[in-house]
Symmetry: C2
Subunit: 484 residues, 2 copies
């Protein structure tokens, strides 16, 4: 494996946890890359940040160096944000300085034309001779939340968490990260891979596969440069950590666009699809599906089978959700007699006595009933997962006289009973997904309100059903491999 070959361990350490950083092309011009990245480095509190700019002696009020060679300290990581034509010279200086890891932000290389390709080859040659590896060129940077390190000029705070993410696009990366964070899940590391001149998507996969901070791996792919290696790595990795991929760029116009984006050759979609399936890689077809699936993989157990129980506030929504589940290959569970009689004791006699469980008379009931119904469904041995169309975190009791539930003590009690429900579901290995609007972002949420870790909330039954399909598919994959 390439990560075992010389220099890789040092490279990853310098890339993700640098003790000192030189920003070549640091700038005082707001909106420029050199400005935004400088901003991030200062914000992330890196004590040893060295701005380099040959024509401005001061950047943000501190001394700038004319060249990395003028820096007295050792430099772990060089971040290069100068025009493409200047990159070979700058790279030579980095090599001369003994730097082993760099990030080339600058664009204008293989993604543009043949001239750019030749320029990129020159830069690679210089780096290779000096034993230097670099991310990019044509990248938007990377982040290591656990080390508090970021050079993502285009994005604010990335929440720490268990997802490692490599993306062949900065803006798709930021879109997907934002969606995952909206689901209350964060990232260990993110890297925008750019043109992958010396470090490839396959290298990041191998790194994440061994990284202890990473429990699930996300990849946005336009084209693979080492498809066979990718599949070998993926096959080993998915046995221990789920890998979720969004692969785009397969249709005619998209393929052309991908070529001028990062120079990647997108290749046949059917081939990718078959290969992913064989390697246990979960494939998402949209950004939303990718975020939805990642969040569930972190929060939910994998369901044992297809049988879903649905709790709904109204008939039509139950019908639509049942259809959504069935279209995703799931089954509407047949509830046991014991469950039916438990529900009977809680619901008005005219409830439809079947699944979906319709609480049409909801507005005359209290929240406790919702939680007790869900609990009964979770306990049913014929149920593998539960879909609640009552948005658990938002639900407010409407029963007359129940308003006292909204005071502090009762809010805590409510959070407590939801937490107990979540724990039961996890113990029994049954995912519980809820449909509703997402809660406000972490900072604006009251701590007592939602045991957010236990629940996955999706805006539509179709998206929730798709997630259950993906979780089930992954479980079945793992079972089939382990049986061999």
């Amino acid at each position: 494996m390439s990560n075992a070959s010389p220099g890789w361990a040092e490279f990853w350490e310098c890339l993700f946890s640098p003790g000192s950083v030189a920003l070549i092309g640091a700038s005082d011009v707001p909106g420029s890359w050199g400005f935004n990245i400088m901003q991030r480095l200062v914000q992330s509190g890196s004590k040893r940040t060295y701005p380099v700019n040959p024509s401005h002696p001061f950047i943000r009020g501190t001394t700038a160096f004319r060249s990395v060679l003028d820096i007295q300290d050792t430099v772990d990581l060089a971040v290069i944000a100068v025009p493409a034509q200047r990159v070979p010279g700058v790279m030579q200086e980095c090599v001369n300085k003994g730097i082993k890891a760099a990030v080339v932000i600058s664009g204008g290389f293989a993604e543009v034309d043949d001239e750019g390709k030749a320029l990129e080859r020159r830069v690679v040659e210089i780096a290779r001779q000096g034993g230097l590896r670099f991310v990019g060129p044509n990248t938007m940077g990377h982040v290591n939340t656990h080390a508090g390190f970021t050079i993502l000029g285009f994005m604010g705070k990335v929440s720490p968490g268990p997802v490692g993410f490599a993306a062949q696009s900065g803006n798709m990366g930021s879109r997907i990260m934002q969606m995952v964070m909206n689901q209350g899940v964060g990232f260990s590391k993110f890297v925008c891979t750019g043109n992958e001149a010396t470090v490839r998507l396959e290298d990041y996969l191998e790194y994440f596969s061994q990284d202890e901070d990473t429990e699930a791996i996300a990849l946005y792919i336009e084209g693979l440069r080492e498809a066979k290696r990718f599949l070998r790595l993926a096959k080993m990795t998915t046995l221990r950590k789920p890998v979720v991929v969004m692969k785009s760029g397969s249709t005619r116009g998209a393929m052309q666009a991908a070529r001028s984006h990062t120079g990647a050759l997108a290749g046949s979609d059917a081939v990718y699809e078959a290969a992913f399936r064989q390697a246990g890689v979960i494939r998402a077809s949209t950004e939303e599906e990718m975020a939805d699936t990642l969040a569930a993989l972190i929060k939910q157990p994998l369901p044992r089978g297809r049988r879903v129980a649905i709790l709904t506030m109204g008939g039509g929504f139950g019908v639509v959700s049942a259809e959504a589940c069935e279209r995703e290959g799931l089954e509407i569970a047949e509830l046991s007699e014991s469950t039916i009689s438990k529900l009977d004791s809680m619901l008005p006699s005219r409830w439809p006595h079947g699944n979906p469980v319709d609480l049409a008379g909801m507005d005359t009931m209290g929240e406790v009933i919702v939680i007790n119904c869900l609990s009964a469904l979770i306990e049913d041995e014929g149920v593998d997962s539960v879909l609640s169309l009552v948005a658990l975190h938002r639900y407010q009791p409407l029963r007359p006289g129940a308003s006292q539930l909204s005071d502090k003590g009762n809010t805590d009690a409510r959070a407590e009973s939801l937490k107990t429900l979540g724990e039961k579901a996890r113990q029994l290995g049954k995912p519980v997904l809820s449909v509703g609007a997402l809660p406000p972002p972490p900072g604006e949420r009251s701590a007592a309100e939602v045991p957010w870790d236990s629940f996955s909330i999706y805006p539509s039954p179709q998206r929730a059903a798709r997630v259950l399909h993906q979780l089930l598919w992954y479980r079945r994959y793992l079972e089939s491999v382990r049986d061999c």
Copy 2:
């Protein structure tokens, strides 16, 4: 047509624009139907509202009547919200009072069991003999925004607008209405059809087809009771007004759920699908798609062909969007030389010179360039529609020194230039869809900020591409029919 038969015109008038309303089952118990509906009637400022309740002499502080028969005034509309067993008696009194239109909110009829079916037949028989038609039973009510009339107990304000909507589910109806309103589009009328004992979905379609306040028709369907009549009506209607349908309940478990929801028989999905296509009915597969499509039908012209131009802020997002379009049967337009040279004069030399048009260097450019680029794309004769991945209403110029654009005068100028762009697109018959987060609801929006009427904004390129597919399909349908 049934609407021409005796009594229908009077029924519709009494249903949607009643001069006087009796609410039988009016209640002071918060959360009950009788309470919520009373609330709406009072809020909607209906001067002649008569609460009826045999056991409470006062409701909301005003005199309640023991029976409709005790009301001295004529009653245009009776709204019935009493337990199912009491409905036959109440209905008889309505008939005796000479009432011609009613809404039976109460559930517990054909959707429950054979006994319920028999009860429903009795109610229908009583009504029929008295020449009374009624919505429901088992309905959540209706609204006529243009008359300021609503008995939708479960939902706040419905915005007025051009969409007429009949739904075989109250909660799906409210979900879809909310989504359409979030897109800045409102409703002429909405009705939850319930069990359709005397007034069927086909009747509402026929009514909307002739209603002058209704420019587009939305239908949420679980099962049709008069499929042939539906298709005949739809075929005539779609020549003048678009009809968008969400049809659910076709898979096994969903079919069963639909039966216990409104007693509807869902039937084979393939048969419905073929019939809809033949009648020019646009079918949406999710609530989101239904709302997206309706909003675009109101705001956008129908595209003449498949060729889409894409404006993007980053390569990856362009690739994903191109793929989304192609998967929906659209084509990535080949830009004319004249367009390329117009763009050349505005963009840095390294832009990819193709479609998607990638403004990768966006952060060094002003907003004027975005509008000018879009304008160039709209003018290209080889372009049928434009997809902007720059969210027009949200976009803030990032260029150094451009911050003065955010002051009042420049905000107006910005709105003005967006408006001009929208008008040009409409004149040339080209839809312009934008991808981004939706703007805040109407009340919270600054008037000058967005010429919201001209633009359709969707949260993902996949959803925008799907809308373009639907608009194009409808245009092709209309062309094929008119050619005959």
